[in-house]
Amino acid sequence: MLLQQLSGNLTQGLILGAIYGMATMGLNLIFGVMKIVNVGHGAFIMLGTFVSFAIFTYLGLTPIVAIPLAFIVGFALGSLFFYFIIGKLTNAPELNSLLATFAIGMLIEEVTKFIFGSEWRGFTWDVGRVTLPFTVLPITKIYAFIISILVVIALYLWLRMTRSGTALRAVVEDKEGARVCGINVDRMYALSFSIGIGLTVMSGVILTFFISVGLNPYMGGAYTLRAFVIAVLGGLGSPLGAFFGGVIFGLVENGSYTLLSLIPGIEPFSLTRFVTFFILLIILLVRPTGLLGVK
């Protein structure tokens, strides 16, 4: 019984973790290339959930359509913000870019609130469910899992196999070295920011495949915090590390919930956060640079 419950929760955790991981890759890409921490990260995830919501509710289309659309919207917004704001701050003190991304996040939130209002939104997208021996999974969650994995593979192949991806890795490893090779570092900054924001908005859509209620313009904060933890866990600057960090985070969060609920007299949900951070601390004590981070 317990084992069944645990396996069920771990399955949910694995899926949610894959989504978390996918949702952190954009943050880590941007940080890896520009050393800019996108404090407005969660706002872009929120934006993605609303793209999904709008496509489903107003246009009556399947939210699958929202995936490429969200990437395009995110890429365009990323380019815009880079061109007018972020690109001018690449040599400025870190606090400047921190404040800038914070402001951009607030702008996204307020514009979303202006368009959709501030009440909680949600939708029900039901395409059936599969019954596993230990749990029942809605098919949308399986979609979310598969698409997250595909996105990770695509990003990995891009970074490994293409000229621009290789140039981007070079900038992550050593900016000055990249310049010496004739790489246009400023263009790589723009590209990483646009793709990073594109991935982040897209992850918001995928998140709605897992949970499609409770959407609100201010829901992003919790995801920003999670993404920071996952990024550190996986290794700052490593997009692939972010994915594995996310999977571990999801597993721990959900697994510990099951185990904690066995202890009488405690409230398991609030404790999961404590356990998760505790495990993060332990991992960082063993590997200070995170799972796939480099010194």
């Binding site: 070079a170 490893e173 070295g177 990249a178 310049r179 010496v180 004739g182």
Partner: protein
């Protein structure tokens, strides 16, 4: 003698790089105060001077990673003052920066391939690999090793090799012998001479290692507090005892 004749007959056209009244720095601090220097085609030119004189800043400004405030940079007669670094690399100007700046988690081979990033250089990649391995045979045994796992000398060879993969016409090197054992210092300087001899590369390098630098240079500039204080052939510089004592401490 022959070199002198060449310089004379080719006249102006033999000028690879000309820096004219260059000013730059790190705002608000100005470092270069009207610097003038020239590198002849196929020559080895060195820029010497005490710590903090602005030697690295000079190379970085010519390369474009530090922006010029004033003055002109001419390359084969072309004004390149305002060009971004990647365009300069495409035109054949490359820098081996202080501290090497390799890609630590890439292998030796991957580092070298990155040097051939521009489309022109990519076409000549095979040929370039041969050139690099003939200059530094030891790298051939290290191709699959991560750059961060190499010794300091080998890392410097990769840095020079990567810059060669660019197929430059002029290579600037910032203290290539820094932190190397004497045997390796000789090897690096020999490589510089061979690059000039075999592919006619023009070289501008910065050094603290005064004696060896004088040995291999065709022309020497001595810089202090952001401008050139003396210049001449190594022979002329050796004769300037007071200048050497004042600025080079030898």
């Amino acid at each position: 003698m022959i070199r002198g004749l060449l310089r004379f007959t080719l006249g102006r056209e033999s000028e690879m790089l000309k820096v004219d009244n260059l000013e730059s720095g790190y705002r608000p601090m100005q470092v270069l105060w009207g610097l003038n220097l020239e590198v002849k085609k196929g020559s080895i030119t060195s820029l010497l001077g005490p710590n903090g004189a602005g030697k690295s800043t000079t190379l970085k400004t010519v390369f474009g990673s530090v922006l010029p405030w004033n003055g002109k940079i001419l390359y084969e007669g072309m004004d390149i003052t305002e060009l971004p670094t990647h365009s300069k690399v495409e035109k054949g100007i490359v820098l081996v920066p202080e501290g090497r700046h390799l890609f630590p988690n890439m292998t030796v081979k991957e580092n070298l391939i990155m040097g051939a990033y521009s489309e022109e250089a990519a076409k000549r990649q095979v040929e370039s690999f041969e050139l690099v391995y003939s200059l530094f045979p030891v790298l051939k045994e290290r191709t699959k090793q991560r750059a961060s796992s190499l010794s300091g000398g080998e890392q410097q060879m990769v840095a020079i090799g990567r810059a060669l993969m660019v197929r430059p016409k002029i290579m600037m090197l910032d203290e290539p012998s820094q932190g190397l054992a004497p045997r390796l210092v000789i090897q690096v300087f020999e490589a510089i001479e061979r690059m000039r001899g075999e592919i006619g590369l023009s070289v501008l390098f910065v050094e603290q290692n005064v004696e060896t630098s004088l040995d291999i240079s065709d022309y020497v500039y001595i810089m202090h507090e952001g401008s050139i204080k003396a210049e001449g052939t190594p022979k002329e510089i050796r004769a300037l005892t007071d200048i050497r004592e004042a600025y080079l401490g030898v």
